[in-house]
Amino acid sequence: MLHFEAIYPSLPFIVAGIGVTLKFTIISLLCGLPLGVILAIAKISNVYSLQKLAQAYTAVFRGTPLLLQLGLVYYATPQLTGNMYVISVFQAGIITFSLNSAAYSSEIIRAGIRAIDPGQWDAAKVLGIPTYQTWFKIILPQAVRNILPALVNEMVDLLKETALISIIGEADLLRRAQIVAAEKFLYFEPVIVAASLYFMMVMMISFFAKKLEKKLSYA
C-alpha cells in the first residue's frame, strides 16, 4: 500500500525545500523583529498618537487572515502601481511575513517590558541611575527573559506559516512535496516526509531556545 521506495529519487528535491522555508523564516524574522521592537516602544511611549498608530497596526494585521494579506501584497501591488512594479514571490513573502510577524512580536515585547515590576524603575531612579542605563542594564535584560519563550513560539508559528508561500508558487518544502505527489500519484509518502522535516526544524528551534533560556535564567 505504501511505496516510500518510489519517492527515494525525489527526496533530495524535497529536502532542498528546507533551505527555502528557512530563508523565508529567518529573513522575515530579522526584518519583523526590529519593527516589532519599534512598535512595542511606540505602544509603551507616552505619545498618544504613536500609541494609537501602533495599536491600529497590530489590530489590522491580527484581525485579517495571513493568506489574505499575502494575496493582497502579491496580486494587488501590480494593480496599485499601475503595472509599473511587478512584485516577486520572494519580495511578497518577505514583506507580508515581516509585517505580520512584527504585529505579533510587538505585543510579546510590550507585555514582556510591562511585566517588569515598577519597583525596578523606582529603585533605579532613587539610586540615580540615568534613564538609558535603566533601560539597557535593568529593564531590558529582565524583559528578554520574559519575552524569549513567547518569541520562540512566534518563530515556530512563522516557520509553519511560510508554507502559505506555496500558494503563490514558491517551491518551498510543502510545495515540493506536493509536486512529487502529483508526479508519482502518491500523496501520503511525500507529504509525510515534508511533515517530518517541519517537525524536526521546530524541535530543533525549541531545543536551542530551551538552552538559551536556561543560560539567561537566574535563581
Binding site: K125, V126, L127, G128, I129, Q133, K137, R145, Y218, A219
Partner: protein, 241 residues
Amino acid sequence: MLSVKNLTKRSGSLTILDKISFQAKAGDITAVMGPSGAGKTTLLRCLAQLDHPDEGTLALNDQNLSVLSHGEIGLVFQAFHLFPHLPVLKNLMIAPLSQHMPWEQVEKKARDLLSQFSLQHKSEAYCGELSGGQKQRVAIARALMLDPPLLLFDEPTSALDPEMVKDVGEVIRAVKSPKRVIILVTHEIRLARSVADHVLFLDSGKILDNLPAKEFFDKENSDFLKSGLSERAQRFLENLA
C-alpha cells in the same frame, strides 16, 4: 537637618498629605508611625523624589531636595526591589558605576559594606538565593553605596519574620551617623522603641504627634488622659500593645 514645610500631596480629590511640617535632625533616627492609609509611604516617596508634592518645600541642610544630585537620598524599599538579574555585588556597584566612579574604588566599597553586613560570602549570589533578612541587608548596603546624607526606610520589618525585628534594629542603628538624617516608617512598635530618637505620629495625612521617642513611649505607659498624646495615637498604641 531635614526640613519639611507645608507638604501637601493630593491624588484626585483625595488629600493624602495635608500641610505637613516637621524637622528631623542629622544623627537622629526619626520614626514615622501611624495606621495604614495615614500617608506614611507617600511621605517617603515625596522625600525620595519619586512623587512630587503639590505644595510645600523639602530641604536638606537648606538645600532643596529636588536639586540634590542623584543618589544623595537612600531609600530601602518595603519589598527591597533588588535587581534580580544581577549578583549581589553588582547590585551594589551598579549605581556608582553609572555615575562613572572608578571600578576598583566602587568594588572595594561594595565588598567592605558586604563584610560589614556579614554578606561577604554572598557577593556572587543572585537575590533569589537569599533569605528575606539577607535581601534586606543587601538593600541597605546598596542604599549606602553613595553615602546618602538622607536615608529612608519603608516598613523594614514587614517582609520579615517577627523574630528578626531585633536584628533589623541593630542594622539600622549601625548605619546611624552624625551627618545622616534617617527616617524610618514603621508599624512595628518594638522596632520604633528600640531605635527611634524621635517619633512622628501620622493619621489621615496630618501629623498628630511630634515628640522625642522617650516621651512618646513613656506616655504609652502612663495615664492616657493626662498625657499630651493624641487620642488617635493612644488608640493605635493600645491596639498594638
